[in-house]
């Protein structure tokens, strides 16, 4: 494997070079929290961070996206398709879990015979430079759900912080084009590659066995009427924290908003945890209580996703775990389903 290297003190130059050609989104500090924001200058980037509170899915799938605009002023409504995002962006410094989430979202927005142009135009125009995780967070479990702290899935370039320098690994052709600008410091030497391997081994060891999901889709299939669901949801507030912060949750609503003369049709984030999500105009709701909604959430991410795509729809970023207002811990739920049942031989 060839990898480039850049001394860390040159990071600002590296970013400045990027900024000349591209819009760059990177972790930045806003009101003492790290979030993904447009980089105005290289100094704003925060690269020694654990992860941003909100996932970067909003960069491809914004919370509010205009699908079309309409004008009702004339005799007949005039409907205009909203312009597709044309500007390229480089998403710099996201974690491998978040980069991998883009691959999972691709399947939803571009996988089933329909092509979501809004998402796809952003996706095509986005280059991902991910930052590996030598020190996974306490609530992270990417390795348990098919990812890993040094995974390159979904990224075009993978950076590793080796202390004095960054290792730069090119993953795709798109990434190669970008990394050309950083080649002046040459290739990484054996020592750096060894260090990188050590860091990866250490991170993977730290993540080993955190969550058990072996056979989860099978367990879940047999659990539809299990009493487990009765208790699971009791403390859940039914808010949207887990779904909105989750990098792979993609449920949305389509609404028209505007005056009686003009307006826009919007695609907005929505959540299967909200009570009215599946409520029909007749008042009938197939998921009337938190019990059905929690079951749906778990089934969707850990059973139906496996049916449809061969793997679970979770990247193990841990945001739902850390931010749930009532500490309803998904990791424990998954472990309870898998390990307990494995032990009981059911």
């Amino acid at each position: 494997m060839t990898a480039l290297r850049v001394p860390k003190e040159q990071t600002a130059r590296l970013l400045a070079a990027l900024l000349e050609q591209h819009q760059v989104v990177a972790p930045v500090e806003e009101d003492s929290q790290v979030t993904f924001g447009r980089l105005g200058s290289p100094e704003e980037a925060v690269l020694d961070y654990r992860n941003a509170q909100v996932s970067p899915k909003g960069l491809l799938f914004p919370q509010a996206e205009t699908l079309l605009t309409y004008s009702l002023a004339g005799e007949s409504p005039e409907v205009q398709e909203a312009p597709q995002a044309q500007d390229g962006q480089v998403v710099f410094g996201i974690r491998p879990c978040d980069a991998r989430s883009f691959v999972l979202l691709d399947r939803v927005f571009d996988g089933n015979g329909w092509h979501d142009r809004c998402y796809l135009s952003r996706r095509r125009n986005t280059t991902v430079v991910a930052l590996a995780c030598p020190k996974p967070g306490v609530a992270c479990f990417c390795a348990s759900v098919g990812g890993g702290p040094f995974s390159t899935e979904g990224s075009d370039v993978l950076l590793t912080d080796l202390g004095q320098e960054y290792l730069i690994e090119v993953v795709t052709d798109k990434g190669a084009a970008l990394a050309e600008a950083w080649s002046e410091y040459g290739e990484a030497d054996e020592g750096s590659l060894r260090r990188r391997a050590e860091l990866q081994a250490g991170a993977e060891a730290a993540l080993a066995g955190r969550v058990e999901i072996e056979g989860i889709d099978r367990w879940l299939k047999g659990m539809w009427d299990d009493v487990f669901w009765e208790r699971l949801h009791e403390k859940c507030l039914g808010c949207g924290v887990c779904t909105y912060l989750c990098p792979t949750c993609h449920c949305f609503d389509i609404v028209d908003e505007g005056s009686d003369r003009e307006g826009q049709r919007l695609r907005l984030w929505d959540s299967c945890m909200f009570p009215l999500f599946t409520r029909q105009a007749s008042g009938h709701n197939p998921r009337p209580t938190g019990k059905e909604r929690w079951r749906q959430r778990l089934m969707h991410k850990f059973c139906y996703s496996v049916d449809s795509y061969g793997e679970v729809g979770c990247v193990g970023c841990g945001r739902c775990v850390v931010n749930c207002p009532v500490n309803l811990d998904l990791r424990h739920v998954l472990n309870e389903i898998c390990s307990d049942r494995t032990q009981q031989g059911t």
């Binding site: 507030l237 808010c239 924290v241 912060l245 009532v326």
Partner: protein
């Protein structure tokens, strides 16, 4: 000094064993440092799960309107006032609730602690008498609990539950200080442009996840005004104007009822200052009506009580 956790367990056990209640809502240990989690205990043998500490940050009264049967509930000072609120608003019958009142020293503000540690991850936290020992990778530090109390606890004047069937733990000294609303007065004194900029900045951060609303014991409407479509009261995007409207209307809806438990603020994943408007409402209600929410089941609700000979000369 009473071991409050043990006292809660013992109380819960006997309540369940004697059939006084069918369920006890309390707290159990969390899965991360500085967390605890609401728990629902139905079996007397299961009561060892129950704990009490300064991470018991949820207001458990938010579960009460939705639970049937006879309920035991662990209530700190503010939670107890919320329960009084539920009684006055007809959400509950007094006979079916057994309040396990817990005099409260205050709840820790996780965000303040994280900020103090510069964002370093906490691996372990231990409560001592006045200190919190926090350990992480490459650091171990003793923090003053007092310095990291949640803002609502620092302003709290009702640490001892005003209503209870069983009191566990020793009564604590009530919060003191000349002005309970010093935070509101400081903000009120700012020029309008500064205040407006602050509100816009806060609402720009809000993602309309409704954690604040759903954590609140008072927000028990089956369909919230945010979800009504006929008419559509406010836009559903996270546009700051619509978001600010959500927070304003919610503050108005809880005015005269909010006890400033702070559960809304602690529930927010993004640190939006959700209490800013509700604190103002609280202060205004106290100054205009000499009323504090939830202190007594006998006091009439100031914004929901009327008599036919109320003055109406302001109606032109």
């Amino acid at each position: 000094m009473t071991d409050v956790s043990q006292a809660i367990r013992d109380t819960a056990r006997s309540l369940l064993a004697d059939g006084v209640v069918d369920i006890v809502i309390g707290f159990e240990a969390g899965t991360l440092p500085l967390r605890s989690s609401p728990c629902f205990v139905r079996d007397a043998a299961d009561t060892d799960r129950l704990v009490w500490n300064m991470s018991c940050e949820n207001n458990l009264a938010r579960y009460l309107p939705w639970i049937e049967g006879k309920v035991g509930i662990v209530a700190k000072g503010c939670d107890a006032r919320s329960i009084v609120g539920h009684l006055k608003e007809g959400r509950l019958e007094r006979e079916r609730v057994h309040v396990i009142g817990v005099p409260c020293q205050g709840i820790l503000d996780r965000r303040s602690i994280e900020h103090r540690l510069g964002g370093k991850e906490i691996l372990e936290a231990q409560e001592r008498e006045t200190e919190l020992l926090v350990r992480g990778e490459g650091f171990e530090v003793a923090l003053s609990k007092e310095e990291h109390l949640h803002a609502s606890c620092r302003a709290c004047r009702s640490r001892n539950p005003v209503i209870y069937d069983t009191l566990v733990g020793d009564p604590v000294a009530e919060g003191e200080g000349a002005d309970e609303y010093v935070d509101v007065r400081e903000f009120e004194a700012k020029p309008p442009a500064d205040r407006w900029a602050y509100f816009l900045a806060e609402s720009s951060r809000c993602i309309r996840c409704y954690a604040c609303r759903n954590a609140c014991p008072l927000c028990y409407c089956r369909i919230c005004f945010t979800d009504v479509t006929q008419p559509q009261w406010l836009g559903r995007t996270a546009n700051p104007a619509d978001t600010l409207l959500f927070h304003i209307v919610r503050a108005l809806h809880v005015a005269g009822r909010c006890v400033d438990c702070g559960a809304c603020d602690r529930a927010c994943p993004l640190g939006v200052d959700v209490r800013k408007l509700t604190r103002k409402m609280e202060k205004d209600v106290e100054e205009l009506f000499h009323y504090k929410a939830g202190m007594s089941p006998d006091e009439p609700l100031p914004l929901a009580t009327y008599s036919l000979d109320d003055p109406g000369d302001f109606i032109q």
